[in-house]
């Protein structure tokens, strides 16, 4: 088990190098650079001398080899440098946003799991009944509804409903307050994006739970359990659900990793200062150092989450051993 974990962690190194090389090259293939956008994009009278001063100060006039060397050394020493746009350390820029993104990801995952597991199980054990049909409509609608659209509807719905009921429109806060400073202010902002994202997330997990449960419920050991006269509740919870959870755990893991850095549009809709928004800004601003660091972070998150999912497999299903 330990050997397996160490092997997987070591495998992260070539994965990160490959991702780093790819993002380094891709960023430099996009036309324009941060100085052109920052100084020339405003339409000001900016002469070449000013642009060159900017490029020199950011190291953009150095050779590609030197730039890649600096980047590689930065990764190796965990010194990612400063954002080309704000001049602040990249780690500081990411740390500020990470807390919010992580909170939304956790809240959305909890929303999804709390809704999806009971719905998926009910849908499977009540297959082809009205309950199954309702849950299927709910889940297919969730898959078909983009989170950002649901977010917009939530915002407009709150504004219109509150104005109708109380005479003054109410909107959730548009600036983040950490949960330990003011839990109410924090939740009144974060609950809505968690619901918007969690609904689609839940819909996907409901579908997966349902189909996994249906498959397991047809297995011989479930039939045997029933023949032995076990209570249906015990059969579902201890025999069927536990075995049906493996693909569900994989899906939850992948979705969770995706939420770290992937909430691009939802963050914009709710004005969340998270990693998704930072990612888009960094790419649009040609902020090479920040984009590279963000890509490396997301790759690392995916690798770690996948490792955790694999380790959870062994805990859920004792038949699985890693050697």
């Amino acid at each position: 088990m330990y050997k397996y974990a160490i092997k997987r962690i070591l495998l992260m190194i070539p994965t990160l190098i490959g991702a780093g090389l790819l993002v380094f090259m891709l960023m430099r293939m996009i036309p324009g650079d941060v100085c052109e956008i920052r100084l020339g994009g405003t339409g000001l009278m900016v002469d070449k001398e000013q642009i060159e001063i900017c490029r020199d100060s950011l190291g953009l006039n150095q050779s590609m080899a030197k730039q890649f060397y600096d980047f590689a050394v930065g990764i190796a020493t965990l010194e990612f440098g400063d954002s080309m746009w704000t001049g602040r350390p990249v780690t500081e820029e990411i740390a500020i946003r990470f807390q919010l993104t992580l909170q939304i990801a956790i809240m959305a995952t909890l929303t999804a799991v709390i809704i999806a597991l009971p719905f998926g199980v009910i849908s499977a054990i009540k297959q082809n009944t009205w309950m199954d049909y309702c849950i299927r409509v709910f889940s297919i609608a969730g898959i078909a509804t983009p989170s950002f659209w649901l977010g917009i509807m939530i915002i407009l719905g709150l504004l219109i409903a509150s104005q109708h009921l109380f005479g003054e429109p109410w909107m959730m806060p548009i600036e983040y307050t950490p949960i330990w400073e003011d839990p109410l202010a924090n939740l009144s902002q974060t609950i809505w994006p968690a619901v918007a994202v969690g609904y689609r997330y839940a819909a996907v997990v409901v579908r997966m739970t349902r189909s996994a449960m249906l498959e397991v419920l047809r297995e011989d050991y479930v039939r045997t359990a029933r023949a032995k006269g076990l209570f249906e509740k015990v059969i579902i919870n201890q025999h069927a659900l536990k075995n049906a959870l493996l693909p569900v755990i994989t899906l939850v893991g992948i979705e969770f990793a995706f939420l770290i850095g992937g909430l691009v549009v939802t963050e914009q809709v709710f004005n969340l200062n998270g990693l998704g928004k930072l990612f888009v800004d960094a790419v649009l601003d040609h902020d090479f150092t920040l984009t590279q660091a963000l890509v490396m972070m997301v790759v690392a998150v995916f690798v770690v989450v996948n490792l955790l999912v694999d380790l959870i497999y062994a805990w859920v299903d004792p038949r699985i051993h890693y050697s």
Binding site: P31, L39, I53, G87, Q163, V269
Partner: protein, 532 residues
């Protein structure tokens, strides 16, 4: 539908009337925090090296400038008043400008402000050392020397008298820094740190989220500011900014909204919303690449300009986009701007569009380009770039020209204009802060770094040189007409569209703030108060 329109109109009228009535009748109240939304982000906090309103709106209130646009009359394009000075004067030959500095000003760290601080600031702006960015350096190319004959007097000597000097000094980016800070911490310290003499003291900056300021009790404009503080909340999406005002999470957005957003707010909130509107010192241009055939032929360029019906377009587009006024090369209300009579003499501004388009077709035929097709490079930003792009394509279709729009993100758009120069025709804009026409029109010189059309025109360079050095407004005006006629008419180097139009709907309890011709101006917030 009709009822809704009437309601909006009634609401607008009521709101506008309310503003006009209240401005004179009420006296300011002290207290409260102003929350406002900003549709951009802060690169650095150093005004000397930035050009975005994303920095100006949250950071400007921490700083003072030597002179500024009159906060009581910001719509005027020529009304400048002292900020850290008590008076300023010019010598008879226009080459020496003397500023008497107030003796009651303190920086937020408690240090008194003297002429030495102003000199150190302007030395950084006008004569930056090697490797230090100063985006306003070119605006001060006429400055020969800056001296301080005594502790509270600053003298700037010019190489030649220039009508552009005083407006350049009034630019909102020219934050006054402390000499001590510059000497002790260096010229890059202000990128991440704040120590000014403005109405508000820096509290915190949460990158990507907000900037917070609190009242500076030692502010030199006595009795101000009225607010206890402010919070500038970053909200890049327009829908969020709009709903934030509707839901009262923010009271105002200083850049401007499109007409539809204004109407939605009025429709939802009625007289709780006040609207201020006015011309914006931004004009949208079509830039033909003179090095790409057939746009090297002025007959083709003139035809493209003649096809555009600006007068009718203004009426239709002003309902959906942030453009409105038909104008020439100078900001419409400035004394140097063309009158309507003067304007309608320039090809492309004729009021008879049928005659104009017939001439356009004739010119295209003469140039052998009757079946002209090209790609229009545009910026993938709706307001007003893409909307104007679609409108232009339709205008050109009416003379038989087929155009495809290629709207790309800002990065590739700037790269194509400035570096690659691989486009045929592009949409570009000329947006400035202070209305300073002779500087503003320098974009149209072939030698200008922000002119992307790739032409050289010696007569225009010479006209501009004469205007820049003329102390006589009548002469400046006369030369400006020749410049305009050549730029838009004879050569059609650049094809003008419409001037932008600024629309600021805000919560009616925000008082004291008046709209200016630019979203960069009048943002020190010392005159703003809340009627709550």
């Amino acid at each position: 539908m009709k009822l809704k329109t009437l309601k909006i109109l009634a609401g607008t009228t009521a709101a506008l009337l309310l503003t006009a009535g209240v401005a004179t009748a009420e006296s300011p109240k002290r207290g409260g925090i102003l929350n406002f939304v900003v549709g951009s982000k802060i690169p650095s906090m150093d005004g000397h090296m930035e050009g975005t309103f994303g920095m100006i709106h949250p950071i400007r209130p921490f700083y003072s400038t030597l002179i500024r646009v009159n906060p009581a009359n910001p719509s005027s394009t020529t009304d400048f008043v002292c900020d850290v000075c008590s008076s300023f004067s010019s010598s008879d030959d226009g080459k020496t400008h003397t500023f008497v500095i107030r003796q009651d000003i303190k920086f937020h760290d408690g240090e008194p402000l003297t002429a030495a601080d102003v000199k150190a600031t302007y030395d950084k702006l006008v004569f930056p050392p090697k490797g230090i960015l100063s985006l306003r350096k070119k605006f001060f190319s006429m400055v020969d020397s800056i001296t301080t004959p005594d502790k509270y007097t600053l003298v700037m000597k010019l190489k030649y008298p220039s009508p552009t000097f005083i407006p350049s000094v009034a630019m909102p980016f020219n934050f006054i820094y402390s000499k001590k800070d510059l000497d002790t911490h260096g010229y890059t310290w202000h990128q991440k740190n704040v120590n000014g003499t403005g109405a508000f003291v820096f509290v915190q900056h949460q990158p990507g989220a907000f900037v917070e300021g609190k009242r500076f009790d030692g502010y030199h404009h006595k009795g101000k500011p009225y607010l206890d503080g402010y919070k500038a909340i970053s909200a890049p999406k327009m829908a969020v900014r709009l709903q934030a005002i509707r839901g009262d999470r923010a009271a105002i957005e200083f850049r401007g909204f499109p007409p539809k957003a204004r109407d939605d707010l009025i429709s939802a909130l009625g007289d709780k919303i006040t609207v201020q509107e006015g011309d914006w010192n931004c004009s949208l241009l079509v830039t033909p690449n003179h090095k790409a055939k057939p746009f090297d032929d002025k007959r083709v360029r003139r035809a493209l300009s003649l096809a555009v019906d600006r007068w009718t377009g203004s009426k239709a587009l002003s309902k959906i986009a942030i453009v409105k006024t038909v104008g020439g090369v100078v900001f419409p209300s400035h004394p140097l701007a063309a009158t309507k009579d003067e304007l309608t003499k320039i090809p492309g501004f004729w009021t008879d569009i049928d005659k104009s388009r017939a001439e356009a077709k004739r010119l295209l035929k003469e140039a052998g380009q009757s079946n002209l097709t090209f790609t229009l490079l545009n910026r993938a930003v709706d307001q007003p770039y893409r909307i104007l792009g679609v409108w232009l394509i339709d205008q050109w279709r009416k003379i038989g020209v087929k155009v495809t729009q290629n709207a790309v993100p800002t990065g590739p758009w700037v790269d194509s204009l400035r570096k690659k120069k691989d486009y045929q025709v592009a949409i570009d804009a000329n947006c400035q802060s202070i209305v300073n026409p002779i500087v503003d029109v320098s974009k149209y010189l072939g030698s200008a770094s922000n002119n992307y059309a790739q032409y050289t025109d010696e007569p225009m360079e010479s006209m501009h040189e004469k205007m820049s050095r003329s102390g006589d407004e009548a002469e400046q005006r006369r030369i400006m007409r020749q410049f305009e006629q050549r730029l838009y008419g004879e050569e059609a180097h650049i094809i003008p569209t419409l001037w932008w139009y600024k629309i600021n709907p805000h919560r009616s309890y925000v008082k004291g703030w008046k709209i200016a011709p630019s979203h960069y101006l009048n943002q020190h917030l010392d005159q703003v108060w809340l009627d709550k």
